[in-house]
Symmetry: C2
Subunit: 201 residues, 2 copies
């Protein structure tokens, strides 16, 4: 059976849980507490030298980390990662964009607000993430104003990757009020068969 090392507060962990559920994998969860540095123990660093959840361990002991790589691995051969070469490349385009332009602004702001003391330094960091975070949401809005999902082929792991932190963007200080197309897309994702909300395991 697969073992997922995860922390319930993590949107990146949620991405992994969701694709495992959607593709019908049997897995058990080992809950680690990021806030107590449980991802920095020698035992966990042997699984993921980068010291981050989610990390997935296969029955034979091999380990895989990076939420988007886990999405990729389990979506292969399913409709969540289309077969058409250009559609696949577009899925990857959104997922790499997520890691560089979306996650460091929106997910990180949420983490700071929820788990750090709001010192002047943290406030300055949040302020610096405001414009690039809004730019990321603006880019999603323009795509979704004329499309149901991020890639024309339909609901894919690009949507899972970006849903994870977009639907809780307000917890990071980003109002979704100016983004009606994003709000409609969030509803569409939540009606995908087999969908499971972030709080669920």
């Amino acid at each position: 059976m697969l073992t997922l090392y995860d922390d319930p507060i993590s949107g990146n962990g949620y991405k992994a849980r969701l694709i495992l559920r959607l593709t019908g994998q049997a897995f058990r969860v080992v809950a680690l507490d990021i806030m107590k540095s449980q991802t920095r123990t020698p035992e966990f660093l042997a699984i993921n030298p980068n010291g981050k959840i989610p990390a997935l361990v296969f029955e034979d002991g091999r380990a895989l980390s990076e939420s988007n790589a886990i999405l990729f691995h389990f979506a292969e051969g399913t409709d969540y990662l289309p077969a058409d070469p250009f559609a696949r490349a577009q899925v990857m385009q959104w997922m790499f964009w997520e890691q560089y332009n979306h996650e460091p602004n929106i997910a990180t702001s949420r983490f700071l607000i929820q788990h750090r003391e709001l010192t002047d330094e943290v406030k300055a960091t949040l302020e610096a993430k405001k414009a690039p975070g809004e730019a990321a949401l603006g880019l999603m809005e323009s795509r979704l104003a004329s499309a149901d999902f991020l890639v024309d082929s339909g609901f894919s792991i690009a949507d899972i990757s970006l849903y994870a932190y977009t639907h809780v963007a307000e917890e990071g200080g980003f109002s979704l009020e100016p983004y009606p197309a994003i709000r409609a897309w969030i509803k569409r994702v939540e009606f995908v068969p087999g969908f499971m909300a972030m709080g669920m395991a």
Copy 2:
């Protein structure tokens, strides 16, 4: 013929040029000057709404951006992206890690040093990127101390993705002196058949 929108100063553009050369694609380059905001014109934003090079336009007008998505697209079906499912997932793991842990520290430091005035604010940003940049190099060093390439299957787009800014890390203020395994890997990458150096088109 393919059209690559690129800027010679960009390591991300180099990733695209290198995979296009390695896989024998015919392409022309349109050189844009990032420093003159030529990636922010309405014409270019119609190609990549994210306003960044590299962006690739196919003969039928479809466009693809994100350097790692371009690597993925052209490597598919070649040895640069192995067929084994777990090896593929590991290639993706390194490439997503590159975008989140390596590029924002090492590539961004290089950009700031080469193209920005060293104000106190820029110096503080560089200082903040020091520890995570060294951590990224340290993680590569431990992998490469016992392996020829990042993934066991051999040279892949994970190596291209990480070579692009690692081999010029010193231009970003990161000495490679403490990383002998990285230095040996750089040489191995440069001996891969068909390799082309960053300054070349």
